[in-house]
């Protein structure tokens, strides 16, 4: 056990000793400095471990041999140990990272670094207010020294703004401290009385000045222009200290002062925190300078923690957990990002494409970014979860909204940035070789981030039950990323299969159905992966993360597990989608809609805990006053995944641009996650009423319009994959409608549509993907006549569209028949008519697809096209086999599903008599129809064959023409703008109204951002005015007058 | 009582000097005025029974810091004349 005072001694001693060294021994001096930092890290870490394992006890450290309040004392408790550990970590690794740079600049920079870290350590530990002031000044001055590391115009201006701002803040802090001393006779924090005195002016004002100046040091909006300029102006390696170390220390100071806060100040604090969180993330929208952007994010994150501190009294014993989770993530992630930024050294985020030349750094960048945004398994995920849950539990809806909105805005620019890095035109230059001392800090931060994620989940009463094995397996694929596709694909299939096998005994009802779609479906689509050659780096980890999420949804017992899995699935699918060629904007909008949806789900799960114990999914069945709100939120969340009308604009691009075997994964499989969510929700919650109207009634209409618009849009596409994507929207609209019916047959129909959609959409995407694979184009009008070249693909498309269109005798008809009966039963006649109208519109695109691609005139350049690869065809034919079986024996599929539904919705179940199904209104025998149709067909066909024995095959252009013969397939193939007349008639429905709406929302957000950020006009003086104004406003807010 | 009068006079001079320091066009004069504020402050400290502070303020506030101000100003002026 080393007394923490030795942290000061070591850092100071070494700093003074550095004076002995000349420029020649600078390397040794630098190493010594790092040694001192390592020593401090060791001491604080030792204390942290000791205190956590309760081998040490929290200790007061007295100086001057006199007891406080007569001397300055430091305190080392768990909090102090943790925070000094964080600070010293940043100090050591930040120093290591900057080592070469600092050596070049001379020993003074090492002195500044050491003093900064020492100052912050004392700031965290001290219990004396004036001591706090002195060491804050030390860290400010040291920071001001470090800011000008590069000694250029920008860093000078930024540094000056920093000095004058912190100067005035420090002065105000000093006034507060001296008056506090005057009123209490002591400088010790522990001697300050608490209670109602705080609201009395005078004493209260003194506390107010102290608290406000600490708050100001944390750069609250709008008095934070100086901080932003510093982030932009200085070297990224220095920003790490400002963002991660100083911010951390000051937050701890604020935490120390919690007992002194009056409720009104605490409220002001949380308001400022919330405002900062939202505003800085909003302003980040327009920002293109990476460091300034990170600065916005950093300020926002700290604002969030400030908000949490302000709400501390309401968060109860969860407060520390939440704050540490959020702050820990901020520290490691922001440090990592700034460090990466220091390596890249580009002043526009669009130029960051160079990052992707370095795989490791790119992965790390992704890790930090996901951590910042609160994705699992990082600590902030659990922090945000707890925060939202607690806020909801207290009925703080508006806080919840603020936090979620702010997080969302942050996601916008961070994911945009990630998209730029992954997808923008690559820079030609290679990245400079990176020395180990720059790598190491980044890697260690990432490792710590992940480790602390697991740690936080272990500490959480519910999260410790989360099954991490699938995620770990997925992560393991990163390690074997260099192996060839064949091996990885086999392993992936094996692991998904194994998981399904292990899960199988526990599966029942809908979980069985959806687990089969997710995992068995996953295996089938993964089979197509064998068609790829080379390594296909990055694909398997992401695919498996998605499957881990999907499987996790099935396994989830609690809302936390469910949300965890939901987020995992979102990440995995995002990375799969962004692999596509032109998917940069589509992946972004996918992510944003998904996140928006996820936040809605999070809010709903939070609200569900009100008046409920535990977080088991079953609490949804036993709800409180918020039930309708929860229902709506969950529905919105799930509908972002099913891409219901209004929330669908991400889908076409995302699915169309994805790779051949990714499209079926994200379309046929992933969308079902939303359906699964809806089913789980509806099973638990039943229908809910709002203003006396059933919500599911609205969902029903929404489903109808989704189906119509989706199908209509599909019919008007030129791009084959986009057509299929819109078709998915339409079909999922049916499914939503079926669920909204809330009747046995409706659900049966919806489920059977979910299953058949999985099958035919997988087949279609793979078949069309195979065509695109060979033809290198997705435009249908550039195809044509491929039936002769790719007959197997043709057959699979043919059967699939027959199923899709619901034409008897194939199984698609089952869905239509069930729907009709359900509609009759429910009395939703108009909706029923419209939904069948949508079904007819589906014929349009079905025909267009098969005609434009496979029929008509073969293009000259496609005369040598080969059939799609075997491995792409194989999954299609597996599925087709199953489809035919289901068609002939519908009860093999529908009967068990009906039995699953009966416990929840017993009325109106089908009556089965062999393959004959009876409903209240009609009847249907799939098997006999199959026999009859096949019988008639074969008979007629035989007749044709018999009569046309000597038929002669003609050449391609041997067609009936009145005038001269056409000779160009391009002019003869009628495919472009195939439904021009239809567009003319009903095109008004196909206007991109929804896209325009969302674009408008985005535009408004960005222009508001641009307007507001003008307050940071760059003048240091203006920033001073902001600070004074901020103090005045907060004062008025806290005291309600002077 | 005499202390009070001295203090009031000192205060008036200091405020005046502060005004000069802020508003005088010549930086040199402004700096000297600011130094004078410090100097008078140290007298006030003596009245307030704070000889230590007075000593410090006199040597640092009105001494060294004015010197530093002048060095910088000089440097800037020199730069101006050279270029």
């Amino acid at each position: 056990m080393v007394t923490p005072i030795y942290i000061i001694v070591a850092l100071l001693g070494v700093a003074f000793a550095l004076g002995f060294s000349g420029q020649k021994q600078i390397k040794a001096a630098g190493t010594l400095a790092l040694g001192a930092l390592a020593f401090s890290l060791f001491v604080s870490l030792e204390w942290l471990i000791g205190l956590y394992t309760e081998t040490y006890k929290s200790t007061q450290i007295f100086t001057a041999g006199v007891n406080p309040p007569f001397s300055i004392n430091l305190f080392m408790g768990t909090g102090e140990a943790l925070f000094t550990t964080l600070i010293n970590f940043i100090g050591l690794f930040g120093g290591l990272y900057l080592f070469n740079k600092l050596i070049k600049k001379g020993r003074s920079t090492f002195i500044a670094l050491l003093m900064l870290i020492m100052g912050l350590n004392v700031v965290v530990m001290t219990r004396d207010m004036f001591n706090l002031f002195v060491f804050l000044e030390i860290s400010s001055v040291a920071t001001a020294g470090l800011i000008i590391l590069n000694q250029n115009k920008k860093s000078l201006a930024a540094g000056f703004k920093y000095i004058i701002a912190t100067g005035i803040i420090a002065g105000i802090l000093l006034i507060g401290i001296i008056f506090m001393y005057r009123f209490t006779g002591s400088l010790n924090i522990d001697d300050i009385p608490t209670g109602n005195l705080l609201m009395i002016k005078g004493f209260g004002t003194a506390i107010f000045l102290i608290l406000t100046s600490i708050l100001l040091e944390l750069k609250p909006f709008p008095a934070n222009g100086w901080g932003l300029d510093v982030y932009q102006g200085t070297h990224a390696g220095i920003s790490v200290f400002i963002s991660a170390a100083s911010g951390t220390a000051l937050l701890y100071v604020l935490y120390k002062f919690i007992p002194l806060m009056s409720p009104s100040f605490a409220f002001a604090l949380s308001l400022v925190g919330g405002l900062t969180f939202i505003a800085s993330n909003l302003l980040g929208l327009k920002q293109t300078h990476p460091n300034r952007l990170l600065g916005y994010s950093s300020i926002g994150q700290i604002g969030l923690v400030v908000l949490v501190i302000g709400l501390a009294p309401y968060l109860g014993d969860k407060f520390e957990y939440i704050a540490i989770a959020l702050l820990g993530t901020h520290v490691f992630a922001k440090a990592g990002l700034f460090w990466i930024s220091g390596i890249i050294q580009k002043d526009n985020i669009r130029k960051w494409t160079i990052l992707r030349k370095n795989k490791l750094l790119t992965i790390l960048f992704g890790v930090f970014m996901l951590a910042l945004l609160g994705f699992p398994p990082f600590p902030s995920f659990f922090g945000k979860w707890e925060l939202i849950t607690e806020l909801a539990g207290n009925g703080f809806i508006s806080w919840m909204v603020i936090i979620l909105l702010g997080s969302f805005l942050e996601a916008v620019y961070l994911f945009r940035w990630l998209g730029y890095i992954l997808k923008l035109e690559a820079a030609k230059k290679e990245l400079q070789p990176i020395s180990w001392n720059k790598y190491l800090p980044i890697i260690i931060s990432a490792i710590l981030l992940i480790a602390s994620g697991f740690g936080m989940s272990y500490l959480h009463e519910h999260a410790k039950f989360i099954n991490y094995i699938p995620l770990i397996v997925a992560a393991a694929f990163i390690l074997i990323d260099r192996l060839p596709v064949f091996i990885k694909n086999t392993l992936a299939i094996a692991s998904v299969g194994l998981w399904y096998y292990m899960m199988y005994p526990d599966l029942e009802e809908f979980r069985l159905i959806f687990a089969t779609i997710f995992l068995v479906g996953g295996i089938i689509t993964l089979l197509a992966g064998y068609a790829y050659k080379g390594k296909r780096q990055g694909f398997y980890p992401m695919a498996l993360i998605m499957f881990a999420g999907l499987g996790g949804l099935i396994e989830a017992k609690t809302t936390l597990e469910f949300f965890f899995a939901w987020e995992l699935m979102t990440i995995g699918s995002y990375f799969l989608i962004i692999r596509g060629k032109k998917s940069i904007s589509h992946a972004l909008s996918y992510m944003l809609f998904s996140l928006g949806g996820a936040y809605a789900i999070l809010a709903a799960f939070g609200l569900a805990t009100v008046n409920n114990t535990g977080i088991s999914l079953d609490i949804l069945a036993n709800l409180n006053i918020y039930a309708p709100a929860i229902f709506i939120l969950l529905a919105i969340g799930f509908m972002t995944k099913t891409a219901s009308l209004g929330l669908h604009i991400w889908l076409p691009g995302a699915h169309a641009e994805a790779e051949t075997d990714v499209s079926p994964m994200v379309s046929a499989i992933l969308l079902k996650a939303g359906l699964f969510g809806l089913i789980v929700m509806m099973i638990k919650m039943g229908d809910q009423m709002i203003f006396g109207l059933s919500i599911s009634y609205f969902l029903g209409w929404l489903g109808v319009f989704t189906a119509i618009i989706g199908n209509l849009m599909a019919a008007l596409q030129e791009d084959a994959k986009r057509l299929l994507a819109y078709s998915s929207i339409g079909v999922l609209g049916y499914a939503l409608f079926g669920l909204a019916l809330m009747s046995h047959l409706g659900w049966l129909g919806a489920t059977s549509i979910a299953i058949t959609h999985f099958m035919f959409k997988t087949t279609l995407f793979l078949a069309i993907g195979g065509v695109v694979w060979r033809l290198k184009t997705k435009n249908m009008y550039q195809m044509g006549g491929l039936i002769k070249k790719m007959p197997f693909s043709f057959i699979s498309v043919l059967i699939s569209i027959i199923v899709l269109a619901g034409i008897p005798p194939l199984t698609g008809f089952a869905g239509k028949w069930l729907f009709f009966n359900a509609i009759m039963e429910k009395g939703w006649y108009l909706q029923g008519a419209l939904i069948s109208f949508a079904g007819v519109i589906a014929f349009l695109y079905c025909f267009r697809l098969i005609h434009s691609v496979f029929l008509g005139q073969l293009k000259d350049e496609h005369r040598n096209v080969k059939e799609a690869p075997f491995w792409i065809l194989l999954p299609q034919y597996i599925i087709l086999g199953v489809l035919i079986i289901f068609s002939a024996f519908p009860n093999s599929l529908l009967k068990p599903i009906g039995e699953f539904i009966t416990p929840y919705l017993p009325n109106g179940a089908l009556v089965w008599d062999g393959q004959m199904a009876y409903s209240l209104y009609g009847y249907w025998n799939g098997e006999l129809i199959m026999y009859a149709v096949v019988g008639i067909f074969v008979a007629v066909l035989l007749w044709i064959i018999f009569w046309n024995r000597k038929i002669k095959k003609v050449k391609q252009f041997d067609i009936v023409y009145a005038a001269e013969r056409p000779f160009l397939p391009e002019t003869t193939h009628y495919a472009y703008n195939f439904f021009a007349h239809y567009k003319k008639a009903v095109g008004i429905l196909a206007q991109p109204m929804i896209s325009n709406f969302w674009e408008g929302v985005s535009e408004i957000g960005h222009s508001v951002s641009d307007k507001i950020r003008r307050i940071y006009n760059g003048s240091g003086q203006a920033y001073l005015i902001h600070i004074i104004g901020f103090i005045v406003i907060i004062f008025l807010f806290t005291f309600g007058g002077f | 009582m005499i202390q009070l009068i001295i203090a009031i006079v000192l205060g008036m001079i200091m405020i005046l000097m502060a005004g000069v320091a802020i508003y005088h066009k010549k930086l040199k004069v402004a700096i000297i005025a600011a130094g004078a504020v410090s100097l008078f402050a140290s007298i006030l400290y003596i009245l307030l029974a704070a000889p230590d502070v007075a000593l410090t303020e006199a040597s640092i506030g009105s001494g060294l810091s004015v010197v530093i101000f002048f060095y910088v100003l000089n440097k800037i002026r020199k730069y101006d004349t050279e270029k």
Partner: protein
């Protein structure tokens, strides 16, 4: 009594603080802004010392007289004075740093106007 030594000192201090802030937020010349800061600092120091003053008590240096008569507590409060000592030195450090910044900034832009340094914004 309003017109006590302490109160007058406090008024002077507050006025200096305000004058300093006023200079910092209205003057465009960087040197003037720095002067404003030093006025601000001086004002705070005066306030601090004044707050430690106890009427009719002596400077906090105990001589044998005090000890003998048992009037050791008839001194003014030494703590604010000690704090001011520290604060003055800190102020000097910060002022010097600001001045050197000003010097360097002048070299970059040939200007002492604070509005010439608006490259970083938004």
């Amino acid at each position: 009594m309003i017109f006590s030594l302490v109160n007058i000192s406090l008024i002077i201090g507050i006025l200096l603080v305000l004058a300093g802030i006023w200079a910092a937020i209205t003057q465009k010349n960087i040197i003037k802004i720095i002067i404003g800061f030093s006025l601000f600092d001086t004002g705070i120091h005066i306030i601090m010392v004044a707050l430690g003053y106890v009427k009719n008590n002596t400077a906090p240096i105990l001589d044998s007289e005090n000890l003998r008569t048992g009037t050791a507590d008839k001194i003014v409060d030494p703590i604010p004075q000690a704090l001011v000592l520290t604060a003055i030195v800190i102020g000097l450090g910060v002022t010097a740093l600001m001045l050197v910044y000003a010097l360097k900034m002048y070299r970059e832009k040939k200007s002492l106007n604070i509005n010439s340094f608006k490259d970083l914004k938004w």
